[in-house]
Symmetry: C2
Subunit: 495 residues, 2 copies
């Protein structure tokens, strides 16, 4: 068979596999937004059956034959990138025993419900045995993937190809150094930001959330917005859904969750439509994904210019909510506080949250830390890094869903996303000179146009590092992020 025909056959096979993965993604979305409570066990069987079907396709012997036949063939850069991604996915799938993959899918479906109950009851002991089981399964998986190498690196590779624990330790170490220095200076500042004390009705928050998603380019024809305990985005191509949550006392929870998820979804919706259902047709890595959610949320959504527009819009919707002017609103939105919750953390301290999760999970995977000691280790580390004590597990070790569903090696991609966003924002401000004027009018069109043109449209065409360096015109570094944070927070707290 000619190379092109082999490639077409391979791609048709892979497209149907990707379609099944997208179906499994919809099952997860449904589980978080729509599923009746009583359906949890049955849903676990569904995930198990989907995993079996997907795994069977991913490990089909024909794939190996097609790939061998296509070794060295030149079918253009898009085919080369697809083949690279298919090869990696096939290698990973054939490394993990099918029984293990099925068991992970089944256990992590049920374990999430147990985590949610433990969080509601504020009792880590309710969750610990389940977490130990999930950890055990994921370590088995990582060992199978690592093939003698470092298991944690093998986990990272699933979310951020090319990244290692060593590289992360250096990058996050330098970042931490700069952040602690800035945070300490802020703590010494006499500037006191205003406090919010107002009731923001749920329906108006959801109305604003819809407006904001639209203002950030979200395509409603190919998506929808619902509520979830832990906001997330889901899907790709023409079915990319977002979720948010509503706290009547704190509208910024809803607002910035929505903008964040609109960033993830915008990336998926912005990919070249020709890549639909191919390996190129989704965000290239979690870190790059997070760079989009973060630049939407922070560098754009929490900018002085956009805050000016948002303040006016919120006054229209909620009336006088006790904040005097745009400058106070901007300071409020960017307040550096003393919170427990990662997802509510300010830009200065957010990556300190990630740093501790990275080190804790790295220790869990290496076997240096046991699940039974995790709560105490969390609390000790939190006190050391943040200077105050965790008051209850739902504010501490139980706050994040990730470990319950087996996402180890995932947390660091959040910090990578912030680092990437710093690099991209530096280039964006030079490329779009009218940016502040746009944002002051609530218009993100030129900024998102630049991101779409330079990054989003490419999907999986380039490797993560190459993509960020290509778009930002520089080597990946924490420096632009630190410089941006220094300028922004010095302006608020230190002037």
């Amino acid at each position: 068979m000619a190379a092109q025909a082999q490639y077409d056959a391979l791609l048709a096979h892979v497209k149907a596999t990707i379609a099944l993965s997208q179906v499994a993604g919809l099952l997860s979305w449904d589980q978080e937004t729509m599923m009746p409570k009583g359906a949890a066990v049955q849903r676990g069987e569904w995930f198990g059956a989907m995993e079996t079907a997907i795994h069977a396709r991913q490990t089909a012997p024909e794939i190996g034959e097609w790939l061998a036949a296509l070794e060295g063939a030149d079918l253009g850069p898009e085919a080369a990138a697809n083949l690279r991604l298919i090869r990696r996915s096939h290698d990973r799938a054939t490394s993990v025993p099918v029984d293990l993959a099925v068991e992970i899918a089944r256990v992590t479906s049920v374990s999430q419900g147990i985590w949610a109950r433990a969080r509601a009851e504020d009792d880590f002991a309710v969750f610990a045995p389940t977490l130990a089981r999930v950890l055990d399964l994921k370590r088995q998986e990582a060992q199978a993937l690592a093939k003698g190498g470092d298991p944690y690196d093998a986990m990272l590779d699933d979310y951020e190809p090319g990244m290692t624990a060593d590289k992360l330790e250096r990058l996050l170490g330098r970042l931490r150094h700069g952040l602690v220095d800035l945070r300490d200076r802020i703590r010494g500042s006499a500037r006191r930001v205003p406090v919010l004390d107002h009731h923001f009705p749920e329906d108006r928050q959801m109305q604003l959330a819809s407006e904001l998603a639209g203002a950030f380019g979200y395509d409603w024809n190919c998506g929808r917005l619902d509520k979830a305990v832990h906001p997330f985005s889901s899907g790709s191509g023409n079915d990319t859904r977002i979720t948010t949550r509503v706290d009547p006392k704190n509208p910024f929870n809803c607002i910035y969750s929505t903008i964040h998820e609109a960033g993830h979804a915008g990336y998926e919706q912005g990919i070249n439509p020709a890549y639909l259902l191919t390996p190129l047709g989704r965000g290239v890595s979690m870190g790059v994904h997070e760079s989009q959610s973060r630049i939407y949320e922070n560098q754009l959504g929490r900018s002085r210019a956009f805050c000016g527009w948002l303040f006016g819009r919120m006054r229209d919707l909620f009336g006088d909510f006790g904040i005097r002017d745009e400058d106070d609103f901007y300071a409020l939105v960017n307040a550096v506080g003393q919170g427990f919750i990662r997802t509510e953390a300010d830009e200065v301290q957010y990556n300190l949250h990630i740093g501790m999760r990275f080190e804790l999970e790295h220790a869990l995977i290496k076997g240096d830390l046991s699940v039974n000691d995790l709560e105490a280790a969390w609390n000790d580390r939190f006190l050391a890094d943040f200077g105050f004590a965790v008051d209850r597990p739902s504010n501490g070790v139980l706050q994040d869903v990730h470990w319950s569903v087996g996402l180890f090696g995932y947390f660091p991609t959040y910090s990578l996303g912030n680092i990437h966003a710093g690099c991209l924002h530096d280039a964006l401000t030079k490329a779009v000179p009218g940016l502040e004027r746009d944002l002051a009018a609530g218009d993100t069109g030129n900024a998102i146009g630049w991101l779409r043109e330079n990054l989003q449209q490419h999907g999986g065409l380039y490797e993560p590092t190459a993509l960020i360096e290509r778009a930002s015109g520089r080597a990946i570094s924490e420096e632009p992020l630190l410089a941006y944070l220094e300028a922004k927070f010095a302006g608020i707290y230190l002037s």
Copy 2:
């Protein structure tokens, strides 16, 4: 291997296949209730991939080997029933070429959207080419299944095992005779039922719908209620969802759609939990399914006793809506009118709608009628049967979703359901002497308890005819239905 071990291996295989089918069912639910408009094509690919995965499992060679090894084994009545159902499903799956099955799944996913557009635009020509394609594919499938027998009977067998076009023609022929006679006497009656002219707010209708589903035993822990253009129920076991629709001028649309779907869902929720994910774990046929939805909706929900309770509840929710008393309300709910729409038809004329669909689709499948002539044939037949002309396609040939998704041989099961419901209701009234008193208090507990005990719990354990005859204690006949209708409508119109 011992027979029990062979059986266990077979059942484990089948359970995972059933799980995938349930996932595909959720995709359909999502498509009708949640899916963004722009996702239709992508969704078609998903259905195609699911169909491929399901078909591969249904036609796996091991199934034939297991079944052969288990021939004659005695593992008890439940295993025998599972084996019978697995054998039938395997025979059907291996008879249909995989390419054809995939193409049907793909085309019928997209075709439903085209039907919806044609209905919205009131233009059959928009839908006709698509319907012709669906019909062509389904005729190919029926020929493959019939193996030289009658293709329409092969289609029927998918929904109502054991039923044939010949049997249906006789049963529906006798039914039609009785219905036309009763309808003509009603038309000659001087009794005029009241007319509804009031606005019923959507949110209160949905509140009432929730109450009614609960009153009819719907288990909210294992289900949910949403809106859909064409109400349906979906799922089984612990994830059984229902939908309804809301017309602000006509609350009975919402009310009786909800009770109807709660009947379907109640059947699924009432099946022995030990049957979950096995072939026994779902309603045994569409006709038996419809017997449950219909007995909930009509014999219980439209009874004089329950109407008395419902009238009071509606006065609480909507205030005085212009109906004088319970008797007028009962007459209104059971009004025999001149409507176009099957789903809104009264109990007397409903089966006349089905009769014409049965004959039209039978002619389409036999090749005696072409899609291009269908609209005219529909309109002619409607005029002949109902005595007035169809005014537009959305009130005629475009009103039902069924043919657009390839459901040929399905319509007759609605009439079978009514016939079965007549038999069951006759037995129920004898077995539950306090039934009217219960219903007058809005309490369906004893009635549904009887249905659950005598029919629902058994799932697929007995063949449809045997199940109805076992529960009702008599041979299946249209006579109890006609006697019930005669007594009911003579009381309203002819006394």
